[in-house]
């Protein structure tokens, strides 16, 4: 397995350093940290295999792609409103990190881990209790996990707005390439991948043949499709 080198993003004294997505081509990570981890720079494709551009993303629609691992999902949203800039967030131990905001011409494109940091409810092929709520839906404009009613604000780094989640949803850091196509490059914030792989080993074995297969990192490209096409059932309570 390839060894990574790491960069401490937030010091032990609590000093906060902004993540610049352009730095993320390098391999960065806090030694002890849960705050930023770089993965392969993966180009997003649409269901037909065409590199995805901002214009292909319908506003407020839920899209999903597998990243950073074959067995983990990411929720991709083109928000109706411009996202906030430089949002200071904290993980459950009080360690701070900075969410720079969305990408795209209006900074409306955001992506978050499809694993709820509360009790690990997650988007999968069978069902999804996690959705971005469109206009007119309960909690409109928010990402909601109906596993235990955790509500997050995607315009502000998916900080917790309601419920008992102890920390924000991890953010998938996106870049827009020179050709105007979208790339995923890393994970910012407290991810739950370790706990996820541990808790769902049986399910992952069933779906991927082995946990090892599910833990393979996505490289090069990932298909982003509508949540309703990815999962058998989208469940909102």
């Amino acid at each position: 397995m390839k060894r990574r080198s790491f960069l401490k993003v937030v010091s032990a004294t609590g000093m906060m350093i902004a993540i610049n997505p352009s730095m993320i081509n390098q391999v960065l990570r806090a030694d002890d940290g849960r705050l930023y981890k770089s993965y392969a720079r993966v180009q997003l494709l649409n269901a037909e295999g065409t590199p995805m551009t901002e214009q292909m993303l319908e506003t407020s629609e839920n899209y999903v792609f597998n990243y950073p691992y074959e067995g983990t999902t990411t929720l991709l949203i083109n928000l109706p409103n411009e996202s906030a800039k430089d949002v200071s967030l904290k993980d459950e131990f009080g360690e701070a990190y900075l969410w720079k905001g969305g990408v795209g011409s209006r900074r409306t494109i955001v992506a978050y881990s499809g694993i709820c940091p509360h009790q690990l409810t997650h988007i999968n092929k069978k069902d999804s209790f996690i959705t971005y709520r469109k206009k007119g839906e309960r909690f409109e404009g928010h990402v909601v996990c109906d596993g235990h009613t955790s509500v997050y604000d995607p315009e502000h780094g998916c900080k917790v707005m309601k419920g008992k989640a102890p920390q924000p949803m991890a953010s998938i850091v996106l870049e827009v390439g020179d050709d105007n196509t979208l790339y995923a490059v890393g994970v910012l914030g407290p991810d739950k991948y370790h706990e996820f792989f541990k808790s769902f080993r049986r399910e992952l074995k069933e779906q991927f043949g082995s946990k090892r297969n599910a833990k393979k990192e996505v490289v090069s490209t990932a298909v982003a499709m509508r949540l309703s096409a990815y999962t058998q059932e989208v469940i909102q309570l």
């Binding site: 690990l120 409810t121 109906d146 596993g147 009613t149 008992k164 808790s199 469940i235 909102q236």
Partner: protein, 453 residues
């Protein structure tokens, strides 16, 4: 600091000699020393590794105790956390009604204390607590004594049959022949066998008054047993005798399920308190003078705080039930003993006695304890528990209704009330099916949280 093993031994020896000299019972308090109630058990220290770490002993491995054990260790990693539980395995009360009617497997409800302790880095100590010495800060168990720096009592409920009978023989018969089915284990197995073996006639369920464990469960149970009768073509009817004037929670959802799904299978009788049991002839009499015959039954009496609270000398009647925890309702500290906490279904507040409530409350209490251990000057601000409560009304597929609520303190009433309530009481169509799936996902998440399963 913890008492050392040597000090603990010394204490135990002195206590044993003192008791021998006075001829006192081992479990009864003395007027000279009311704080050392039931203070001596084995008289020998429990077989536990000796450390200098702050020691947090949690009594009771239900939803509250499990949550507090996990999160105390998480928030105060330097603490030694010991969970004392008399059962060897965990059986979930939430969702057990589905197992009673054979709609889910037992494996879904059963969980492994050893895994929970292994995954969350605390010690599981399988023993029964027989005494608490609040002065010496020692608990006595069936497997030896344990000194503590912080003690959490999360022993759950006991049943209070006193409004039904003062006859111990009748009470014993009710407990044995018609168990309530709200303390997981043999009661649930008995109830399941009653339902699966039922041939015909009336099956009586009761709903007590007061703040009983799991408000919607008797109504959910009525629906599911009725569904089982319907599915199996059993000529039976569920008679639901409710001491309360109306369905206590999720009224619209349950009432419409009773009427639309189980019109021929459920007879709901509100305001019906039993005043006489004739078990030999299988009849009960209500306050209204109705005589109701039954083929089988599960009689759910009022609840009270676990008797362990009395043994520990921390029990007090609440506005709802007898002998619940005598605590500060914001910090959960026992009045006069800030190093002792009482949590879970033994609490006196009017919170729902249910799993999600105990779990979220447990996280808050763990923060309180950890703040003390970590030497914080400011204690964490009060956080409301969160009640997330699904109830199944049918089993194939599982159709459910739900309610979510937090709590707010009313200064005038000097009591907590619901706040931010969201009720989802539609059980038919896609909504009901989604609620059913939500019920299963909720439970899986909670088991993951407590057991890392």
């Amino acid at each position: 600091m913890s008492l050392t093993r040597r000090e603990l031994l010394k204490f135990s020896s002195i206590a044993a000699v003192a008791l021998a000299a006075t001829g006192c019972s081992l479990t009864e308090p003395t007027s000279e020393n009311p704080e050392s109630m039931g203070s001596v058990g084995m008289g020998t220290p429990a077989e536990l590794a000796e450390t200098d770490a702050p020691k947090v002993v949690i009594v009771g491995g239900g939803w509250s105790g499990l949550s507090i054990a996990k999160y105390t260790k998480k928030f105060a990693p330097n603490a030694e956390v010991i969970l004392v539980e008399q059962r060897t395995e965990f059986m979930s009360c939430p969702l057990s009604n589905l197992w009673v009617v054979d709609a889910i497997k037992l494996e879904f409800l059963m969980h492994d204390y050893l895994q929970a302790s292994r995954e969350n880095n605390y010690t599981f100590f399988n023993a029964t607590v027989v005494g608490v010495d609040k002065t010496q800060k020692i608990i006595s168990t069936s497997d030896g004594d344990i000194a503590y720096d912080y003690l959490v009592l999360a022993p759950g409920i006991d049943y209070d049959y006193s409004e039904w009978t003062s006859d111990p023989v009748l009470e014993r018969r009710l407990r044995t022949e018609y168990p309530a089915g709200f303390k997981p284990g043999s009661e649930h197995i008995s109830l399941r066998n009653k339902v699966l073996d039922f041939e015909e006639g009336n099956f009586i369920l009761t709903v007590p008054s007061g703040n009983y464990r799991c408000l919607p469960a008797p109504y959910e149970r009525a629906c599911l047993i009725a569904d089982y009768f319907k599915k199996e073509g059993i000529e039976g009817k569920v008679i639901l005798l409710d001491e309360n004037p109306n369905i206590t929670i999720k009224q619209d959802g349950f009432r419409s399920a009773f009427e639309k799904l189980y019109g021929d299978y459920i007879e709901y009788l509100p305001g019906s308190k039993i005043i006489n049991f004739d078990l030999d002839n299988k009849k009960v009499e209500t306050e209204f003078g109705e005589i109701i015959e039954f083929a089988d039954a599960a009689f759910y009496p009022k609840v009270r705080g676990s008797k362990l609270l009395e043994i520990a000398g921390v029990a007090k009647d609440s506005r709802f039930n007898k002998m619940e925890a005598d605590i500060n309702v914001f910090t959960y500290e026992v009045n006069g003993y800030p190093e002792i906490y009482c949590t879970g279904d033994a609490r006196p507040m009017g919170f729902s006695k249910s799993g999600n409530t105990a779990n979220t409350e447990g996280v808050y209490v763990a923060k309180q304890i950890a703040a003390k251990i970590n030497g914080k000057k400011e204690m964490p601000a009060w956080e409301s528990p969160l009640t997330i409560c699904f109830s199944a009304v049918a089993m194939e597929p599982i159709l459910a209704i739900s309610i979510n609520a937090g709590y707010a303190y009313d200064e005038k009433q000097k009591a907590f009330g619901f706040t931010d309530v969201y009720a989802n009481e539609k059980w038919d169509g896609r909504v009901g099916k989604n609620n059913g799936k939500g019920l299963m996902e909720w439970a899986k998440g909670m088991y993951r949280d407590m057991f890392n399963a």
